[in-house]
């Protein structure tokens, strides 16, 4: 296995192990996601709008907000431990560093999404069944989009004074295209629509992922190096 | 009896509002730049 890949996996593994020990990012994000779902449930008038119409939007807004909480906490914890400095001093290629951080963040956000989904099914009484594989697919694709840009922006935000505010301000515009695509595909999946109706959105999302993962990987060095 | 020309809707107040707001924004920015230049 090429060195860079092994390095990225090692970095990801270190971060994941660290998070499993302290669980700060995961806990904040999970609690947040559950709260958001509860609020949405009470804000909705059950007689006026069917749950299935609102469901995709609610699910994805929850995922997006929880992702931001997770990303923020992950980098803050790391800065508090000054773990990054040691890594930066070593001759680690910055692309591998980014890939490692990306994988770790994907694991965090993915875990939050995994736990949020059953809660969502519970609160909104939505039946997933047939749609589940497709749903997992779209969740993976959209999450890669959020987290790629989120990783580089949280690396920046954590070096500023108002990190918790700076990340959403920077990241939200970038989350919109993946969010739109995800909601569109999710609503069609839940309605059992044919794949042809989702294909355009899926291609858009795939292109977004390729472009932004590549770009953020290349730009990472400009953020972490002097 | 000749055909009446089409009467355009009377919405001049929107035009006034738009031109006013646009001018205020542009003039306001210019003024802020000018004031800053006085200070240097």
């Amino acid at each position: 296995m090429p060195d860079a890949i092994r390095l990225a996996l090692a970095i990801a593994g270190k971060d994941i192990r660290a998070e499993l020990r302290s669980r700060t990012a995961l806990q904040s994000a999970l609690v947040f996601a559950a709260l958001v779902l509860v609020v949405f449930n009470f804000a909705r008038d059950p007689t006026s709008l069917a749950a299935v119409d609102l469901a995709p939007s609610v699910l994805w807004v929850t995922f997006a907000l929880a992702a931001m909480v997770a990303l923020n906490r992950a980098f803050t914890v790391e800065r508090e431990n000054s773990a990054m400095d040691a890594l930066l001093l070593a001759p680690v290629p910055r692309e591998a560093l980014f890939a490692g951080k990306l994988l770790a963040n994907l694991a965090f956000v993915g875990t939050v999404e995994l736990v949020t989904l059953p809660l969502f099914v519970l609160f909104f009484n939505v039946s997933l069944g047939h749609a589940l594989p497709g749903l997992i697919g779209i969740t993976v694709l959209a999450t890669i989009g959020f987290v790629a840009v989120g990783t580089i922006f949280s690396a920046m935000a954590v070096r500023t004074r108002f990190a918790e505010l700076m990340l959403p301000v920077l990241l939200l515009p970038f989350m919109v295209p993946p969010l739109i695509a995800a909601v569109q595909v999710t609503s069609r999946l839940l309605a059992n629509r044919p794949l042809s109706e989702m294909w355009g959105w899926l291609r858009l999302l795939a292109l977004y992922d390729v472009v932004f993962v590549t770009l953020c990987m290349m730009a990472f060095t400009a953020v972490v190096d002097e | 009896m000749h055909a009446m020309p089409i009467e355009p809707p009377s919405n001049g107040q929107y035009l006034l509002a738009a031109y006013l707001i646009g001018s205020v924004i542009l003039l306001g920015y210019f003024l802020s730049l000018w004031l800053k230049s006085r200070k240097i």
Partner: protein, 232 residues
């Protein structure tokens, strides 16, 4: 010529160009109100067009230049590029604000709704938020080199986001039947209207140049002052 007097000269030139631009703007108002025909179906409100469209053009111009100078900065590391990008972003916010306020004021009497998610309005709204984020980031980072690098990254990523927003809007509209709205169609503008539009676009470009030059000069002057203070 000292650094400071150079900066002062730039500021002065910028202010002169801006003043010319503002006079031009008054001229555009006269042109639009006195010498351009009233559109039959839309009435007087259609004349907002002569302010709204050029403002959108200036905002997008400002934004593209931020993106381009950001790329160039990461490659060449010239602080002048960073200074220009910052100036262009600030000026861009102003023009985007004009576009985003005149847009709804135009839309309400014509289309009956304050906002439509059409391509131009949506893109400008995004550009507006990207600008705000860019400026907020610059305000939050104190080290000049770090600020320049971070801003450049945001500038480049932002520039690449815009085509995706455009694609999303396009995809959304082709797959969703839009409610039939009385859209003011202008397949071919009568010459007099086209002339007014072109004049206005020139005026707005002039305003962009004037504002950016002034802002650039002011930033340069502040930096010279700051350096002089640190040297003591």
């Amino acid at each position: 010529m000292t650094d400071f007097s150079l900066a002062a000269k730039v500021v002065k030139r910028g202010l002169v160009i801006s003043t010319l631009g503002l006079i031009g703007l008054a001229g555009v108002f006269v042109l639009a109100l006195g010498f351009t025909p009233v559109e039959a179906r839309q009435g007087l409100a259609q004349k907002i067009f002569y302010l709204h469209v050029p403002a959108a053009w200036s905002a997008l111009l400002a934004f593209s230049l931020v993106g381009i100078t950001s790329c160039l900065y990461l490659w060449l590391k010239d602080p002048r590029l960073d200074r220009f990008a910052a100036a262009s972003a600030e000026v861009g916010v102003v023009f985007a604000a004009v576009m985003l306020t005149t847009g709804p004021i135009w839309a309400k009497p014509i289309w009956g709704t304050w906002w439509t998610w059409d391509a131009r309005l949506t893109l400008t709204l995004f550009v507006f938020f990207l600008f705000l984020g860019y400026l907020a980031l610059r305000a939050a980072v104190h080290d000049a080199a770090e600020r320049a690098r971070f801003s450049a990254v945001v500038g480049i990523l932002g520039m690449l986001l815009v085509p995706f927003v455009h694609l999303s809007v396009y995809l959304f509209r082709t797959l969703h039947p839009q409610p039939i709205v009385l859209k003011p169609s202008a397949p071919s503008l009568p010459t007099s209207m086209l002339t007014t539009l072109l004049v206005s676009t020139l005026v707005f470009t002039l305003l962009y140049l004037g504002f950016v030059t002034t802002r650039y000069g002011l930033t340069l002057a502040e930096e010279v002052r700051e350096d002089a203070r640190n040297a003591d």
